[in-house]
Amino acid sequence: MKIYFELNGVPQYPEIEPGESLLSLLRRLGMKSVKSGCETGDCGACTVLVDGRAVRSCITFAAQVRGKKVTTVEGLGSVDDPHPLQEAFLETGAVQCGFCTPGMILVAYELLSKNDNPTPEEVREAISGNLCRCTGYVKIVDAILLAAKWKREGRWR
């Protein structure tokens, strides 16, 4: 079957399998920031935004995003032109192996879209469903708080 959806602002008309996961489709389309971790919705590595809301792409059927806007980290920034959230992760040392980082950035993006002055507790709550086995989370919380500060100062897009 064929569906229409928007990926990082670009219209897409892919052929999909009826039972295919959004994770599988996005990786087929070259979005390698979307990681395949647990594939049961538990680890958060496959998180993407659908119409601005963070969802687990491994337990979302590709067919469910028909007509919707999907955003991956590739849609936020690039190596040459990183998004402030990506810069904040680099500046605070919040990236180690990097496997969880795209998911962390996208749940942080959703949090900051609703609340640009979160408490550390609110940040911890927002990332509580995203597992990181390297950093111990402290630097990730620091990064999101720094990005929030930058957003309040107008350094955002």
Partner: protein, 281 residues
Amino acid sequence: MRLKGIKRFHYARDVEEALSLLSAYQGRGALLAGGVDLARSARGDLEGLIDITGIGLSYVREDGGALRIGATTTLTELLESKGARDYLAGFLREVLRQVAVTPLRNQATIGGAVVSAHPWADIPTALVALGAEVRWVGEREERAPVEELYHQRFRAIFRDAVLTEIRLPAWEGAFAFEKLVRSAYDIALLNCACGLGIEDGKIAWARVAVGATPHRGRRLTWLEEGLVGEAPREELWSWVRGEVEAKVEVGTDRRASADWRRKVAGALIARTLARAAERQS
């Protein structure tokens, strides 16, 4: 994605079309809203999925002090709704904030929570305490208190029917919710929803439901009856702790032993009741 073998995906336009498609599959089709549980199920018997998110069942409507929630409303939509803010001074928000995490709440629906009704789930416990009513359309329109539904083979009902709405009644009183977990993201070792109505310093009505025992949330009617007519004070909560420890039906699973559950259930229920009482003082 554990679910395999899907050959067709449909987007239903209304309840009738969803029912017609479901019927055509003769048990090999399933309705899909959030899909959180369906995608994770290892069912190998399904061939068709029927997306019902476009059939007009995503809404939260206030009706006096009562609340009507469309079955495909996501937990986030419900959490952020005015209805959830106003209903029982935000009791629903207190429950929903403790259910899973934001990305899963963005996907999961209230209807899915009612139909899946995992024994450890928090929402069934809260709905049982609230006396929620569930409405569905199969061969005809039907309704039942959620508590009654859970005493039947309810999953079989929803293989041939569309759950349409959950209605929460108005209450003159206050509710509170508590759960015991190892971490904020973990599922409950025990959960508890309690409501109290207080008139002239005495308890006029009480609702107590406890879940993850490890069974699905159910009411402790013997405790509710024992509370009516009593003054909400520390002596009463001590009595609650003792009564629950002596009488509550709990079991052992891989998460906790029956002994542990029995010992902490009394404290959990007493604490939840005390919080419900405080909300009215």
